[in-house]
């Protein structure tokens, strides 16, 4: 065994070599040198040279003079075997070291059957399959939504078959643990909004309306949307990853076999937690956003706190808070359902877990923005 750890030929090893000695139709191939796979490659024309000759019927290998060897020798002999089969030659391996013959005996004598070619699919088949998948996925999401509505009431009355601790953990994770990041992000958003708004309003001498701008924008749109985006990245992705990991570990199969209703046990606590916590996060987010705007207005735009608060009071009405609040509840449900559904439909390998988490985040953000757009159009039509 060559003790060197270097990846290049070291001075102590000798290039592999062979010599052909013909005796009528039989040929003796004498091997010498070191046959170390990672150090010396066997020239690819070796097989053709050795196996071709006028009237050749058998090739015998002799390895008396061989130095160190490892897989390099074995691949060489395996290649000769294949070539000899093709040329209809007999290959005599009895001159090889006994330990090499033992390893070679473990190789299959016949070439493995080639892998069946994957059938090529027409564009129609691809489109059709895609359409059916989308249709089935829509059905699955609708089922999940329906089950959530049916079982959600039961769960709130304490009749669902889920563990109380699971719900409490999910509530904590989607609520208290997320509070700090939601507050920070909303605070900064309120500040940015006040700053950008004030620069424009000042040109018309309307600095004072910055309170209206921040108040209405934060309460109606920004707080609900930004909180939902944060929660989609934070919690929606986590739901998908958790459930996909359980799927890969066969935990979901184990739950199914003992007859635990998956929806009650696994999905419901998560959806309930996010739907219940989102409005609270929204309220905290609104307060933080308005406070951010207030800080910028007072510190940098020379508004007095009293004027800011007075304007805020007249511009932000209860119905606007209600509008934002109901949107945040819907967003919470959407994020949780998407996260759980994508987790459940994930594959079973480690990379599938990552893919499920990414898909859940992207799909969640796209869905809440689309839903928000629909809400905006409806609110406009209803002059709300």
């Amino acid at each position: 065994m060559d003790p060197s750890t270097a990846d290049v030929p070291s001075p102590t090893t000798v290039e592999p070599a062979w010599e052909c000695r013909d005796d009528g139709p039989s040929r003796l191939v004498v091997l010498s040198g070191d046959w170390i796979a990672r150090l010396h490659a066997v020239p690819s024309d070796a097989f053709e040279t050795i196996l071709n000759g006028p009237g050749l019927s058998s090739v015998a290998l002799q390895a008396d003079k061989i130095g160190a060897w490892d897989s390099g020798l074995l691949t060489f002999v395996a290649g000769l075997r294949r070539g000899a089969d093709q040329h209809g030659l007999t290959l005599d391996e009895s001159g090889l070291p006994p330990s090499a013959r033992r390893l070679l005996a473990l190789l299959p004598r016949d070439a493995l059957p080639a892998a069946p070619a994957r059938p090529s699919r027409s564009i129609r088949a691809v489109l059709g399959t895609q359409a059916l998948t989308v249709w089935a996925e829509g059905g699955a999401v609708a089922t999940m939504l329906g089950e959530t509505i049916l079982r959600g009431g039961a769960a709130l009355r304490g009749q669902a078959r889920m563990r109380r601790t699971d719900l409490l953990v999910a509530l904590q994770d989607a609520g208290a643990s997320a509070l700090s990041i939601v507050i920070v992000v909303n605070l900064l958003m309120g500040g940015i909004l006040a700053f950008v708004g004030a620069v424009q309003l000042r040109r018309f001498g309307a600095d004072i309306y910055v309170a209206d701008l921040v108040g209405i924008a934060v309460v109606r749109e920004i707080a609900a949307l930004i909180t939902a985006v944060v929660m989609s990245g934070r919690t929606g992705g986590a739901y998908a990853a958790q459930i996909a990991t359980m799927l890969g570990n066969e935990e979901i199969d184990a739950l199914r076999t003992i007859g635990v209703p998956l929806h009650d046990y696994l999905i419901l606590p998560r959806i309930l937690a996010l739907t219940l916590m989102m409005p609270l996060l929204y309220l905290y987010g609104s307060v933080a956003g308005i406070f951010g705007g207030f800080l910028v207005a007072v510190a940098m735009l020379n508004l007095t706190p009293a004027t800011f608060l007075a304007h805020l009071q007249t511009s932000v009405t209860g119905s606007q808070v209600l509008f934002g609040l109901s949107k945040s509840i819907a967003f919470g449900g959407v994020i949780a359902i998407i996260g759980c559904r994508i987790g459940l439909s994930a594959g079973r390998s480690a990379s599938d877990v990552g893919r499920a988490a990414t898909r859940a985040v992207v799909a969640g953000i796209v869905a809440i923005i689309a839903l928000d757009a629909v809400c905006a159009v409806c609110a406009n039509a209803l002059r709300f």
């Binding site: 003790p3 750890t5 490892d70 897989s71 074995l74 033992r102 390893l103 480690a350």
Partner: protein, 266 residues
């Protein structure tokens, strides 16, 4: 230029203690693995066999003691040197630990692509050889997620053998294999040892293969947190007086347990 390594492969462990955190799982282990031997790490579940393997392959720093691999103190050489020594070791993990984003052929080919100057056709030939040696009959472009546990194990072994390592560490190599596959694996391990002069360190519960192929071993005990027997498994079976070792080697329930049989809990 790194210093030349001591000829051949050999592991010497002295006063080793290891564990997660500061509480050791095992204390005061001392043993040597001779060049070209097949060494078994044995013991009941949860006694730290796989953790010992982690220490030997450099994934976990021991709490005390030394590990000499081929004459070098593994944990006091530089990180680069450790990596270099590690490259001459092949490891089969308990669950195969295949890289799930690569086909099985790429899994085996990666070490060859990273650490040798071989061309693609040569690498392909070597990959095919390793997959043939472990008796894998699946096409190389399959993904690990398409394979059964036993097949993953075999691909893991083929990957461990990719660079023809001096030392092979195998964590439960025959778990998940059928009896014929397990027997084939024994033959392969013996042939690798005899052919390539590899040293093999394996964690195993498979008594028939322990008796058939191992010529050295250590028996770890979860209660006393140290080794209670050192020697070849077949010698331990025939000659060891320790009741735990005797029970393990003969598949008996220890007398202390059978008196208050609590359903296998200990």
């Amino acid at each position: 230029m790194p210093p030349p390594l001591e000829d051949g492969a050999k592991i010497a462990v002295e006063g080793l203690a290891f564990g997660y955190g500061s509480e050791p799982i095992q204390n005061n282990l001392s043993f040597t693995v001779a060049t070209g031997s097949i060494f078994a790490i044995m013991g009941g579940s949860g006694c730290g066999k796989s953790t010992l393997l982690k220490v030997l392959i450099g994934l976990l720093r021991p709490l005390a003691g030394t590990v000499h691999v081929r004459g070098e103190d593994y944990w006091s050489v530089s990180a680069d040197r450790r990596e270099q020594i590690g490259r001459r070791c092949g490891v089969l993990f308990q669950s195969g630990a295949l890289w799930s984003s690569m086909s099985i052929a790429d899994n085996v080919a990666l070490p060859l692509r990273m650490f040798t100057a071989l061309t693609e056709p040569e690498i392909d030939r070597l990959v095919q050889l390793k997959l043939d040696l472990v008796g894998l009959t699946a096409p190389g472009d399959m993904m690990p997620s398409d394979l059964s546990g036993g097949m993953r194990k075999r691909v893991g072994l083929a990957r461990a053998m990719a660079l023809d390592p001096d030392i092979l560490f195998l964590d439960e190599p025959s778990a998940g294999l059928d009896p014929i596959g397990a027997r084939r694996l024994d033959d392969l391990i013996l042939a690798l040892r005899d052919g390539f002069g590899s040293t093999v360190v394996m964690v195993s519960h498979e008594l028939p293969s322990l008796f058939a192929i191992c010529d050295g071993g250590i028996f770890l005990d979860a209660d006393t947190h140290t080794a209670i027997a050192i020697g070849a498994p077949r010698d331990l079976r025939d000659r060891c007086d320790d009741p735990t070792v005797h029970a393990f080697m003969n598949r008996e329930i220890p007398k202390s347990d059978s008196a208050v049989d609590d359903g296998g809990q200990k």
